[in-house]
């Protein structure tokens, strides 16, 4: 499988991050063009791929994770401004035949991302 997928994990509770808004953008020139906004499902993943293999081109992409709103939705009171708020992850697709799985592991004070599978 090729294309782009993601997965949100709440590493405070050790459970999937459910209902987090994720904005997906493509770099065009010096700016970013918002392609779509989605929400993570009950498994912390998205119902549809972020980008299908046939639509994936070599280039730079951004996933913006609304981590602050997610933790507020879990009943957590955050600092103002929150330490971890909306987290952009920017990565390149260098070979459209490969799969790019880009997860977000978040707490209110830390986050991590990596190329998964």
């Amino acid at each position: 499988m090729a294309g782009i997928t993601t997965h949100v994990l709440n590493t405070v509770t050790g459970k999937p991050g459910v209902g987090m808004r994720i904005d997906f953008s493509i770099q065009e020139g010096d700016g970013w063009r918002l392609v779509k906004s989605v929400r993570s499902n009950a498994d912390g993943r998205t119902d549809d791929m972020i980008l299908k293999p046939e639509d994936t081109k070599i280039g730079l992409y951004e996933l913006l994770f609304h981590v602050d709103d997610y933790f507020r939705s879990q009943g957590m009171a955050l600092a103002d401004p929150p330490f971890i708020e909306k987290v952009p992850v920017r990565f390149a697709v260098f070979d459209t035949k490969q799969h790019y799985h880009v997860p977000m592991l978040a707490t209110a004070w830390s986050c991590a991302t990596y190329r998964g599978s």
Binding site: A79, P81, S110
Partner: protein, 167 residues
């Protein structure tokens, strides 16, 4: 999370004397100077708030040590967009050379550090695909109380990164 914040502040105050020494590993001269001056130069009694400051440490977990120099832009959010206010190169082992902002120069608000990870690995000759999976890494964080110490710790490699509020 007011309770956790209070706990954190209490912890910081309680370990202030220790932090003054360990917050600058790799800068033995400074540490020994602090020791020689007996930290008493800046007495930090239990319960006293140490001066707020921002420090940075980027750790290259691909090589196991930050053997190169990492360039970092610091931007602050101003009227909805981020504006670069300072650029620095890491000093010993991926650390900022002391505090990036301290005392009155350290303002609350929204910050974005851009780490030039692509350039870092290119300079080291690390073989990676082109374009590299990650190149300019944005690290956004909010500073709610600039009287506190914020240490931005980043573990990075060509295929991953993590950052957290360190100490």
């Amino acid at each position: 999370m007011p309770i956790l914040q209070t706990d954190r502040r209490a912890f910081l105050a309680g370990s202030a004397a220790l932090s003054a020494l360990v917050a600058l590993p790799g800068r033995a001269a400074d540490s020994s100077t602090l020791m020689a001056q007996g930290v008493a130069a800046q007495p930090m009694a239990a319960g006293a708030t140490p001066p707020g400051r921002l420090t940075f440490h980027g750790i290259d977990i691909y090589h196991g040590s930050t053997i190169g120099t990492l360039k970092v832009d610091i931007a602050m959010q101003d009227a909805g967009s981020y504006r670069v206010v300072k650029t620095f190169n890491t000093a010993g082992n991926g650390r900022s050379d002391g505090a990036l902002f301290e005392g009155d120069t350290f303002k609350p608000g929204r910050y974005e550090l851009t780490m030039y990870v692509g350039d870092y690995y290119a300079a080291l000759g690390t073989k990676l695909p082109s374009p590299t999976f990650i190149s300019r890494v944005p690290l956004r964080f909010g500073i709610a109380d600039a009287r506190e110490r914020y240490h931005i710790a980043v573990l990075f490699g060509p295929w991953s990164y993590a950052y957290y509020r360190g100490s």
